[in-house]
Amino acid sequence: MIAFWDTFLPRIFAASVITIELVVVSVPIGVALAIILGVARVYGNRPVSLVATSIVGIFRGFPAIVTLFIIFFALPDMGVYFSSFWSAVLGFVLVTGAYQSEYVRGSIQSVQTGQSLAAQALGMSKSQEVVHIILPQALRAALPGISNEIIYLILYSSLASYIGVEEIFGVARSFNSLAFRPIEIFLTAGLIYAAIATVCFAGFRMLERKLRIPGLEAAR
């Protein structure tokens, strides 16, 4: 009994570090991609918005695991190689970027037109308007949706195990095939995911509170 936990815990904690690395690297790039895609779909000319819409369509349409397999197994056939870890990051960035961009697009479109008119009337260029007036308001509104997507990302990061990343779920599975203690192993794995998601959730709530605009209380 003691021997089991003594070998299992260090390995699952090491795997947790990998999971956290996957998430911490994927999230900022994914959010940046989401903003670029969202802005491109609202403000881009026809070709730009068509490209952005296609990217979103593809990576929201493919199951995440299929995207990962294409990047890790199919791209090498075309001469493009990524390690397991970076294949997973690339896949997660594309998938979460595509999903989050919908929140960004929706929240950009929900900013009142008056905000845009006022920016134009002051002589701001379109890019100044978008960066300084529209996005700061839109991203605040998109934050709950974005944080939700990031929590999903933490959970589906477990898929990275299928392309050989030694993250929590992967280590749990391989450990179980040796130790045959599925209850302890998978419950522990699940609890670690839940812990990471909870910390992340709390962080986003704090961020939301910090970014709240005084006087603009939400409807209750």
Partner: protein
Amino acid sequence: MVLKVEDLHKTYAGNKVLNGVSFEIDRGQIKVICGPSGSGKSTLLRCLNLLTHPDKGRVWLEQQEITGEVDDVNKVRQKIGFVFQDFNLFNHLTALKNVSIALEIVRKMKRDEARDLALKELRKVNLADDAHKFPAELSGGQKQRVAIARALAMNPVIMFYDEPTSALDPHLIGEVLDVMKKLAQEKLTSLVVTHEIGFARSVADEIMFMGDGKILERGPPNQIIENPKHEVVQQFFKRINELYRRNE
């Protein structure tokens, strides 16, 4: 001459909103536009600062034609202060930042410089003490005064007001009109769409009455308000006068 408008036309979805509008404004003049809703007043203002483009006609701002091929539309708009009916303050920025942001990113002023100038403009509209507040923490009258300060900070050659008091509670209208009167007395060239005939009477050089996309009648305030010739104008001021008398 600050602004010259010649034979402006604009059609929206088959509707002739502007149907040949011409007028001029000299430096230091205050002109008021009134007329029933749907007469094309707001569209006129939006055509004049190119928020929408007229179908036909020409506009000159300080001798420069702005209706033809303009190199930089944003440069034109920087010269025009625009005050909206519903304020359109930037919701995510404090009163101070609302005023300073265009100074920083459009006029490329240093942050401190922009801040000082913004504070000066807020002082002019009696809001220096509320500089740190966000729009949602201000009353309608305060919001509109911030909006005026924001437009003034850009040092415009002309101010456009698009029904600046129409969205305000009656008891807040006075504080906004007071600021506008003060600016008028300082001879800040202005084009004001409003139904505040008291304001028009005390500061306007001319009232232009619009109907059906045209200027139906124009002249000194007293003549237009007391003794209009056009039947539509007579009806309009008769009703407005009745309303005012009831309020007195």
